[in-house]
């Protein structure tokens, strides 16, 4: 799958999961996905200036009955931590976090960010799954949405370059 096809698959998953509002902040690897999200009329797309804002926007929209997703890089996940703890976890608000996994195996940049991502998710008690094969993306997103709604806690999908069609997938990962 190329990046455009992978982006379409992810958007199909988000629509299938009933997502209505998406807050996002760009990463170069999310370019095709964010373009696809912007063009999809089923979504209200809110481009934010800092990821923590996006957590608040999604929480507000959830409280009035809308399903939401936040799309960001893992550095942005770190930026969001106070809101994740004292709003999402404190009020038991579900949210689908689509986190681009910078510093993944094979990357020459953001290695430190990559190394801290899973430990911080674990520390916050946020269940997460690593999305590697774009063919699984749509199904994984719909399952993750069920999990977050059921648990009333955020659930994260770590979206790798492979899942975005920007690197070939390895069967052993």
């Amino acid at each position: 799958m190329n990046p455009a096809e992978a982006a379409k698959t992810i958007v199909t998953g988000l629509k299938g999961a009933g997502i209505h509002l998406i807050a996002s902040l760009p990463d170069i690897n999310l370019t095709d996905l964010l373009r696809e999200i912007e063009e999809e009329s089923a979504f209200i797309h809110v481009p934010v200036c800092r990821e923590e804002e996006g957590i608040g926007i999604c929480a507000g929209a959830y409280l009035v009955g809308k399903k939401c997703a936040a799309v960001m890089q893992n550095g942005g996940f770190f930026n969001s931590n106070n809101a994740i703890v004292s709003t999402l976890l404190q009020y038991q608000i579900p949210l689908l976090l689509l986190i681009y996994y910078a510093g993944d195996i094979g990357d020459r940049t953001f290695g430190t960010t990559g190394s801290m991502t899973e430990p911080v998710l674990n520390a916050l008690g946020i269940r997460y799954y690593i999305m590697r094969d774009p063919a699984d993306a749509a199904e994984l997103i719909q399952r993750a949405q069920i999990m977050t709604e059921d648990a009333r806690r955020p659930v994260a999908l770590l979206v790798t370059k492979e899942a975005l069609g920007r690197r070939s997938a390895l069967k052993s990962l």
Binding site: C49, G54, A61, Y62, L63, G65, K66, Q90, Y91
Partner: protein, 201 residues
């Protein structure tokens, strides 16, 4: 001006608007003046404006009022360009600027040193942003904002005095459920409906 008197003016014209209030004594004063399940208390400093934006975008036909403070907004200044960009016509963002972190020991905030939050809002692209410099002016601005169909930002300088009122009776989770049930009832929608397999229902 006293914040409590300003809140009284908001309560007089709020109707069934949803209200999001920033952490601190303001929430207690607001809930004493307008007790409603349509009130949400925010716990994350700074997030008031963003949560209100999410509500306004999610329910575009319903009025949403953000009751913000200077310390809170200073922590999330970048919410202003985002609000300007989305420009929800049903959002009224009110900032009570007492120039201190009142809930955290009353240390002076940057507005005490001259930062002009209405100026920041205007520069961020919120066209209808103004300072209310009298009680009458504030009441008129809020009434106009809630009757109108335009994103509004209203700043008001207030003293840091508190009015003794009852404590907020709800924890965060009860506040959430009451708020969402209020939305279900007033918007005639089901938020929590889940289709489970028959054996689990």
């Amino acid at each position: 001006m006293k914040r409590y008197d300003c809140l009284k003016a908001v309560a007089a014209v709020a109707g069934d608007a949803l209200a999001v209030s920033s952490a601190g004594a303001m929430t207690l004063e607001w809930n004493a003046l307008r007790p409603s399940d349509g009130n949400l208390r925010v716990r994350t400093l700074g997030l008031c404006s963003s949560i209100a934006l999410g509500m306004a975008l999610g329910l575009p036909h319903r009025k949403v009022i953000a009751l913000d403070g200077d310390g809170s907004l200073l922590m999330n200044l970048c919410s202003l360009p985002t609000i300007a960009r989305m420009a929800p016509r049903n959002l009224t963002h009110i900032v009570f600027d007492n120039e201190v972190y009142e809930a955290s020991g009353s240390k002076r905030s940057a507005t005490a040193a001259g930062t002009d939050l209405v100026g920041v809002a205007l520069a961020a692209g919120i066209k209808n942003a103004l300072w209310a410099d009298s009680a009458e002016g504030f009441a008129a601005a809020v009434e106009g904002a809630l009757k109108g169909e335009q994103l509004c930002f209203i700043g008001v300088k207030v003293s840091s005095e508190r009015v003794a009122v009852a404590p907020f009776p709800l924890d965060e989770v009860e506040n959430k459920y009451r708020f969402m049930r209020h939305i279900e009832k007033t918007e005639k929608m089901e938020i929590f409906k889940v289709n489970l397999p028959a054996s689990y229902a």
